[in-house]
Every structure is written in C-alpha cells, then in structure tokens.
C-alpha cells in the first residue's frame, strides 16, 4: 500500500468512526454486548437553575434490566388484581451480576393459595411471599424528642429537615419542589400533617424558629392524598431552597428515577434522611416501586421502603430520603423520595413514602 492509499484509509476511517459516534451507534452496540442504557436520574445541569433538569443515562446489564423490568410489571399486575389478603408488594432488584429481581408480597393470614396464584402470574421472577401476622398502626416513639427548629434564615431561604407547623400538627419541611408549568416553586410537606377535612383548615404552613417569632411560609396550593404530599405556595418573604439541614448542608441536584433506585439497590447503596425529630439517619433500601394497601381504603403506589422503624418518628413526615450524586460534586445529592410512614411486623421494619419519580409521573413536580 502506497503512502496516498494509507493516508486515504486513515482519513476515511477516522471520518467513518466520527460519523458512527455522531449517529449514536455505541448506544445500542453497548446493549448488544449485554448492556442497555437506562435513565437513572433527572439532574440539573446548572446546580442553581432548577429548570436546567436533564435525563442522565447509564448502562446496566441487559439481563438484569430485563429481570427488573418484568418484576416492575408483575408488581403492577399484582396491585391491579389486589386479591383478598393482599397488603402490598415491592420489587427488590438483585445485584447487577446476578441478573435477578425479587417481588416481595405481603399477605395477611393464610397465604398458601396466594403464593400459588402469584406463582402462576410470574414468569421467571423469584417470588417471596411473606405471611404477615399483624399490622401495627403507626405508633408514637417511646421517647419524646425536641424538634429541630430553623435558625436564622440564610439568603432568605429555608432548608429541608427543620420543623414546620400545620394548623393541626407538626411535620418536617422538604426541599423546594418545582413544577415546570409556569415555573412555580413550592414548599412541601406531608399531606397527612393537615387535618383530614381540607376545607376546614385554612391550609397555612408556619415555620417555628429558634428564639424568634414563627413566620408564615405559605398556603397549600395542592393536596395529593395518594402520594401524601402537600405543595405549599410561598406567600411570605422566605423561599424554599434546595438545601438540606445536615452537617455538610447537601445541595439537591435532582432526583433518581425508578431505574436509578433499582440501580442503587443493586449496588447495595444506603439512603439518608434528615427529620425534624430523629435528625440525620441512614439505612438500606428494602424495596422499590412498592404498593401499600394497609393504611387506607386505597393502595399507594410507587413507594420506597428503606431503613428501619427507628429511622422515622412522628414529626419526621415530609422529610426526604436522598443519596449522594455519584457523578456530581461532593455536596450534591439526589432525592429518592419522601418519608411519610413506618411499618413493622415480625421480620420486617421499614420507613416508607412516595418515590420522587412517582410524583413526577403523576403530577409533574420535580426537585
């Protein structure tokens, strides 16, 4: 081969590779090697601009993806059927190498026929039926703790993790919640912290402060009972912020998607939370995309189960669970979901609340 042919080959080859990269060939070729791309998070490009939110993808083993995806589908099918004795179920993805996922089903009383029925529904998914003997209601914590109150207000914003007051009770304030419609921002806390009869309250949210007067944060714009979230429109001089009141003052950079949470479970990652009463705690994720039908007449979907009963107490509702942003700066965290309740029975104990992705899917909000 003479020099000219060599140069032509080099230039044409380089051009061909460049064009292949531009066409995004690697996206599906990587999948062909046993990996598929999934959207794991919604992340802000500019940390200070909540409207710069973008999807983040990473590749996961195709086998694992297929198993988790079928587990999600199966879980939704179970919730739709909601057979007698069904209390809820959750998906527990295995690690990436195993390429498996488990659906954990909670049933009351005698569960034999149920496991058979579930077995018929499942195709290649490991089913773990747990017979639940008794369901405790949410109980008061044994010791009385003092709530963490907001200090002086830095830059006119209130961080998440401090106490807030509804007309009827006390809860924890979440980080700023955004809605792309009209680019609105909201304070957020648990819906159940307001009285059941929403018309009977004026729906104002107050912020008690350390050695200062309580100030008004705003009034509720939207109640979302199924997600147990109340979006509060700011009316006062203070604004919600994307900071969390923890030692390092983490900055909220976005949120995990359903597959982002599955990926966290596969990597055995822990979630953190800051509640106004129990403070900062961490714990393992026990299940995602969970359905819980034991507290109300309706089933709550898209829930995250994590940690243990000790990670939540009354007054912590409305706090968020989060995990460090694996690709962001040191202080950046991504939100997993809210913490609104806890449940324990023999063999199980966890905190639960709606996943951020579910809130986005249903109502369009994001962090």
């Amino acid at each position: 081969m003479d020099r000219r042919s060599f140069l032509r080959t080099l230039v044409s080859g380089g051009y061909a590779l460049g064009m292949a990269a531009w066409l995004g060939v690697d996206d599906f070729l990587a999948a062909d090697d046993g990996e598929v791309p999934v959207v794991t998070a919604l992340v802000r490009e500019d940390p200070d601009d909540p409207w710069s939110i973008r999807e983040r993808t990473r590749t996961v083993p195709a086998e694992w993806y297929a198993a988790v995806e079928s587990a999600f589908e199966l879980n939704q099918r179970l919730a739709r059927i909601a057979f007698t004795g069904y209390l809820g179920s959750a998906v527990v993805p295995g690690d990436h190498e195993s390429g498996t996922a488990t659906v954990s089903v909670g049933v009351s009383g005698d569960g034999h026929s149920v496991s058979e029925m579930v077995g018929e529904l499942a195709a290649g998914i490991d089913i773990k039926a747990e017979t639940i003997i008794d369901v405790d209601d949410i109980q008061n914590g044994p010791e009385h703790r003092e709530p963490r109150l907001a200090d002086a207000i830095p830059d006119g914003g209130v961080p998440s993790g401090v106490a807030c007051e509804t007309p009827s009770s006390m809860a924890t304030l979440g980080p700023a919640l955004y809605h792309p419609d009209g680019q609105r921002q909201f304070f957020v806390t648990a819906e159940h912290a307001f009285m059941d009869d929403h018309d009977a309250t004026d729906g104002t949210l107050h912020l008690p402060r350390e050695e200062r007067d309580t100030i008004e944060l705003g009034t509720v714009a939207h109640f979302h009972p199924a997600e147990d979230v109340a979006a509060v429109e700011p009316t006062g001089r203070v604004e919600p912020t994307s900071r969390i009141e923890a030692p390092r003052q983490p900055r909220v950079r976005g949120q995990f998607t359903k597959f982002g949470l599955a990926d966290l479970v596969a990597r055995d990652a822990e979630l953190e939370k800051v509640g106004a009463l129990s403070g900062h705690t961490t714990g393992k994720i026990q299940g995602i995309d969970a359905v819980t039908c034991f507290t109300d007449e309706f089933c709550r979907r898209g829930q995250i189960r994590w940690g243990g009963e000790m990670d939540l107490t009354d007054g912590d509702s409305g706090s968020v669970s989060y995990h460090r942003d694996p690709e962001g700066e040191d202080e950046d965290v991504l939100i997993a979901g809210f913490n609104n309740a806890r449940t324990w029975w023999p063999g199980q104990s966890y905190v639960w609340g709606v996943g951020a992705y579910r809130l986005t899917e249903q109502h369009g909000y994001h962090f």
Partner: protein, 84 residues
C-alpha cells in the same frame, strides 16, 4: 499567430492544475459520500441483527480499507504522475 503558442501552453497548464484540483476535490467528496453510506448501511444493519460491537467496528474499518485499495488503482492509472 505565433504569439498564441505560449499563451495556449500556459492555458493548458492552468487547465491541468484546475483539473487536478477538481479531481482531488471530487475524489474527497466521493470518498466521504461512499464512507457515509457505508456507515449508515452498517448502522441500520447492526440495529436489526444485534451483533456485537467488535463486529461493527471491524466491518466498518475493513470496508473502508477495501474501498480505498480498490479505488486507489483506478485513480493511480489516470493520475499516475501526481505527487502524493
């Protein structure tokens, strides 16, 4: 009329240069077009077949070098004396 001869030869030289430049430019354009079509074809083919990544890049570069080795003979015969 004798004055015309050198002028004609100058025009001839200019034309040869223009021809060389045009044919060079044309060659590059044809190369880009052929390579683009090859990449596009391979991409669509591999989208359907789910063959591994190494096969894609192997076929891509093999196709390019085969194309160059075949066509270099054609160009060499028409512009044999051109410097590289």
């Amino acid at each position: 009329m004798s004055n015309d001869t050198p002028r004609t030869s100058r025009t001839g030289r200019a034309r040869r240069v223009i021809t060389a430049v045009t044919s060079g430019g044309l060659r590059i354009l044809v190369d880009l077009l052929v390579v683009s079509l090859w990449v596009l074809f391979l991409t669509l083919w591999f989208l359907e077949t789910a063959w591994p990544r190494w096969a894609f890049y192997g076929a891509l570069l093999l196709g390019v070098s085969v194309y160059v080795s075949i066509t270099s003979g054609w160009w060499a015969s028409t512009t044999a004396d051109d410097g590289a």
